[in-house]
């Protein structure tokens, strides 16, 4: 199957917000529901498709993910899983945010899921002050309120592993 698609060798051009162009094989682009819908609605593949919300660095990552998932056969789920975790490893929070926004915009469900989960997982086992710093959350509690909410939730942290 895969070879027949490659033979057909259709490509399209995506343009990042910072003006960089990416030549993408069609079967790779089809990982994105957004692009799939555009191609279905006879949007000519000769046109350059602008992605004004996604910078070149992020788009390169997104397309790397799409290529791996488009090329891998479904039987190699284990291999894809290890690719996924390696892919996100050591990625900083800013890059993860860009990735999750891009995956949401381009409608790439698998990527959206793993990037969102990675962001969620950084919260595990961290004190709430650190969570605040990581996500730049404005602390709108007064010291008294914060003490009260800590006390309210104290039971949840008892016997924490």
């Amino acid at each position: 199957m895969a070879s027949s698609i490659e033979n057909n060798n259709e490509k399209l051009t995506l343009k990042s917000s910072d003006g960089e162009e990416f030549l993408v094989e069609k079967h790779v682009a089809l990982q994105s529901t957004l692009l799939q819908n555009m191609l279905d609605s006879d949007c000519s593949s000769a046109d350059v498709i602008p992605l004004p919300k996604i910078d070149a660095r992020t788009l390169a990552l997104v397309l790397g993910y799409c290529k791996k998932h488009a090329d891998a056969s479904s039987s190699k789920q284990g291999e894809l899983n290890s690719f996924d975790s390696e892919f996100l490893k050591d990625m900083d929070m800013g890059a993860l945010f860009n990735l999750v926004l891009a995956a949401n915009f381009m409608e790439i469900k698998g990527l959206l899921d793993i990037a969102a989960q990675k962001i969620a997982d950084t919260i595990k086992d961290k004190p709430h002050q650190e969570v605040r710093e990581i996500f730049h959350v404005e602390n709108d509690y007064t010291p008294e309120e914060e003490a009260a909410v800590r006390e309210e939730n104290r039971w949840a942290f008892e016997g924490f592993p």
Partner: protein
Amino acid sequence: MDHTESGAEGSGNMELAQFPLICGLPDDIALLCLARVPRKYHALLRCVSKRWRELVSSEEWLSYRRKHNLYETWIYALCRDKFDQLCCYVLDPNAPKRCWKRIQDLPPSSLKRKGMGFEALGKKIYLLGGCGWVQDATDEVYCYDAAINAWNEAYPLSTARCYFASEVLNEKIYAIGGLGSNSTDPNSWDTYDPQTDTWRSQSDPNLVPDIEDSIVLDGKIYIRCGSSAVSSHVYAVVYEPSNGTWQHADADMASGWRGPAVVIDGTLFVLDQSSGIRLMMWQKDRREWVAVGRLSPLLTRPPCRLVAIEKSIFVIGRGLSTVVLNVGNAGNGEGVMVSSSVTKLTSDDDVISCKCVAI
């Protein structure tokens, strides 16, 4: 700043919309990320900011996690301790090291109650009615919000009741029959609709006050009635919600319902302790009870209560000693069932009722 504004609109009734949930992400994307945080860390999220606290306590959070299959189900057990006081414990069945943990104490006025109802609906658990040694049946209802670990007083029952049946059917709580004050009609039941926060009372002569147990099966409430002194005959009545009437249930089904019961995917399971401990299953198409397997009597500490999460039955006994049986791969008849167990409490609390809450 666009993100902040569009996000705030998307979050609907959320107050304090001046800050984004996460700086740099629109609120809907932030929710998508935060909703993937495992349930045991939700208390931590609540400490981060007021908006996070509101989010984690909101119906939006609950419905998002349920809709996207992110929810985790915990088991809540109502117990009576050695001082004859009520207390509540919670178990996260997927924790790496499973153990029961005591939750927020019940309101002081309810601690000595007997014969109350215990029901879970949405993210809340309701403690309904009951009575005391010298106190008549009450109509009081207390409500525990599992998202915030707090008890509050809720809208009272329309009828004071104790030793009654309670069930949840079609997102409504039913408080059925039982005993009450002199004015209580023993053939009545009350229905609570959380949408309108109101109770509605109805009655039917087929309902008897002497209630032993209840279950919901195939969208109907079944009540096992007390066996009379004259005969050991076990019988059950069934509530048909489409016409609001009570009828006698299948006698063959009722005859095997001789212990704590639980329903999984429309199949009724009963823990029969009449000769050894056996898990029985009601095969409704053949209208007969079949044995699923035996349990070692060393594992269970009766009296037990049953709850189910997916294909697993939790047999919860004295001191919250807990045995987990997977019925997905069971069905070997008389063989001993494979199980895992959860460490019991150091005390020997009696378990009154167990319910599941998925958040």
